[in-house]
């Protein structure tokens, strides 16, 4: 019994084994490996077009990998539709904000719990007991979530009318509403100024501590990454070129070359 418990504790939240993705003749990701243990906060960096978002799209089931295996919480995701992968305990945000702009903030949070509704069409039509109980609970949870994110005053607003930084925050809140074990953040600081980026660092650290969630993020702001991530992986042209602590990665020659170019030319 004790042994099985230790084993389940050691199951990585996300494990990617020798992942390769080809689009026609282009190899977007080549032999990518990663293992995220529960509670980790790690990062993925690389120059533009390195294949970072492709890795996220593969992990969230949006693409089916050409080769390799992805396991979310020990369960292989091959052949699963993205909503099924989400049900396994993964949530993500997008590089360009993808909120439902004509739904209120509260509805955005509520609909993101779609897989956990626990009622179907006929319950909705008949307004059954289960429907009412679940709907009440979902609304309560959504309101609580908005409350801790300090977004409650926007509950009835449309997301498109909110400031950019708030929209980013709302997107993270929406991702968290499905109680994920793993949160993928795709460039959360994109388009934020340095003051907002500082807030974001605080927010991500706070989420990491409060929600007991493993976070894997892509980011271009190096200061954000250096401050937050314990482990950073660097990819360029789909190849992993370095990994390790922030300090290690920062001074790695291959990373310098990838970002700044080769000074031997």
């Amino acid at each position: 019994m004790a042994q099985t418990q230790i084993q389940t504790e050691q199951t990585p939240v996300l494990e990617i084994r020798s992942l390769t993705q080809r689009f026609g003749g282009l190899t977007a990701v080549n032999d990518f490996n990663v293992k995220l243990m529960p509670g980790e906060l790690s990062g993925l960096i690389g120059p533009n077009g390195a294949g970072k978002t492709t890795v996220f799209n593969l992990a969230s089931g949006f693409y089916q990998p050409t080769e390799g295996q992805i396991l979310v919480d020990g369960i292989p995701t091959a052949g699963l539709k993205p909503h099924k992968v989400t049900t396994l305990g993964m949530a993500r945000t997008f590089q360009n904000i993808r909120l439902w702009n004509d739904m209120t903030v509260l509805d955005n949070i509520r609909v993101a719990q779609h897989s956990q509704l626990g009622y179907g069409f006929f319950h909705a039509i008949t307004r059954s007991k289960r429907y009412r109980a679940r709907e009440e609970q979902i609304t309560k949870e959504a309101e609580e979530l908005l409350d801790v994110f300090d977004l409650k005053r926007y509950a009835e607003e449309l997301p498109k009318n909110l400031p950019y930084g708030t929209q980013r925050k709302l997107e993270i809140a929406r991702a968290l509403s499905s109680h994920p074990k793993l949160l993928l953040l795709d460039e959360p600081a994109a388009g934020l100024n340095s003051a907002d980026a500082k807030d974001l660092i605080r927010l991500i650290r706070w989420i990491h501590e409060t929600f007991d969630v493993t976070i894997w993020m892509i980011e271009h702001h190096m200061d954000v990454m250096m401050e937050l991530c314990t482990q950073i992986k660097v990819i360029d042209f789909g190849e992993t070129i370095a990994e390790g602590s922030a300090e290690h990665v920062r001074n790695h020659p291959a990373v310098m070359t990838a970002y700044l170019g080769d000074d031997n030319i």
Partner: protein, 356 residues
């Protein structure tokens, strides 16, 4: 009590309408217009689910109306008519069996909507529009070639069912059923679309990728949404068939689909109250423009210049109504209500109704 004001008024209005029809205060013509309004409300609100709430573009909604009309007509002739031999059921059971027949027609139409919803997994917009037109033609051609259903000559005998109902109680039965089914349609759609489950439909409309990633089973929701829309259109078709007492495949052609589309776009995409209002306005307009006198007055400047021209109301109607649509799209491209409900436009109204 105050928050049910509008609901109670609606019920009183419906009962008043039935009494007026029963005691011949309103004549058969007005009754037909009211029933057409009801059927058009069913058509426009159900199409609004797909074209408005889900943001897909389908223009073959009459196909489902056609399937519903034929299935329920055949069933009702089998059960109460004499075309296919002796009636299967005693005439007195008609009052209970008739709504079931309509619902079966709707159910078959709902299943047939898979012809559109399965392709919609992969295609959107223009391509889905083409698929839906294809389905419309498929259904019409199939029925035209079914000789046992009368083929292109049409199918009749449903009046036997209506007479069987009148034998049970002499009243305006079809008006009664149209009112009930219209209320049922609006009520079911409202409940579906206001639940978190149904809001998945709006999520698909606004960002399908985000919906799929945020755990909405987009394919399943699409199937269900198409099924609800097609099923309600099927019920509308069944009612239509029993009101007219005769169905012909050509009465469900692309023109009928276009009528439903016009109502949705006139009312405003995704607005349930808009769809209801535009169905009422549209049907009334059609009836008003049927009058030759009104057409003559409207076109008097033109006939003054071209004295030889004698516009006929039946033709000019189809010039005026598309023109109206063009004018609405030019000056108010979001439609009458434009993705908002009546309660959003007049917040004070919200106190007077509870519609859940």
């Amino acid at each position: 009590m105050k928050k049910y004001t509008l609901n109670i008024l609606l019920v009183i209005f419906a009962i008043g309408l039935l009494f007026a029809a029963h005691f011949r205060i309103i004549d058969g013509y007005i009754q037909i217009v009211v029933m057409t309004i009801g059927i058009n409300i069913m058509m426009s609100t159900s199409l609004n689910l797909v074209n408005g709430n889900m943001g897909e573009f389908t223009c073959g909604h009459a196909a489902f109306m056609c399937i519903g009309a034929y299935i329920s007509s055949v069933l009702s002739v089998f059960c109460f008519g004499s075309n296919f031999g002796d009636p299967l059921l005693p005439a007195a059971s008609v009052v209970i069996v008739f709504p079931i027949i309509l619902l079966i027609g709707g159910a078959v139409a709902a299943v047939s909507s898979l012809l559109v919803s399965v392709p919609s997994f992969k295609t959107r917009d223009d391509y889905l529009a083409i698929i839906s037109i294809a389905v419309n033609y498929m259904v019409i051609s199939a029925i035209q070639n079914m000789d046992f259903l009368g083929g292109s000559r049409g199918f009749q005998g449903m009046k036997d069912t209506v007479w069987a109902m009148i034998d049970v109680f002499d009243g305006p039965w079809m008006l009664f059923w149209v009112i009930n089914f219209t209320i049922f349609t609006v009520w079911a759609i409202r409940r579906f679309i206001s639940s978190t489950y149904g809001k998945g439909v709006n999520a698909i409309c606004q960002d399908e990728v985000a919906a799929e990633i945020m755990s909405v089973n987009t394919n399943k929701i699409k199937i269900i949404n198409f099924m609800v829309a097609a099923g309600l259109a099927g019920c509308a078709g069944g009612l239509y068939a029993h009101i007219i007492g005769y169905v012909n495949p050509q009465s469900f052609n692309i023109l009928k689909s276009t009528e439903a589309l016009v109502m949705v776009y006139l009312g405003g995409m995704g607005s349930l109250s808009g769809a209801i209002m535009s169905a009422i306005i549209f049907t009334c307009l059609l009836e008003v423009l049927r009058s030759q006198a009104i057409i003559d007055v409207l076109l008097s400047p033109a006939t003054f210049i071209f004295p030889d021209w004698e516009p006929s109301a039946g033709v000019i109607k189809w010039v005026m109504i598309p023109l109206l649509l063009i004018i609405v799209m030019q000056f108010r491209s979001e439609g009458i209500m434009g993705n908002r409900e009546l309660g959003d436009v007049f917040p004070k109204l919200k106190k007077f109704y509870r519609f859940k």
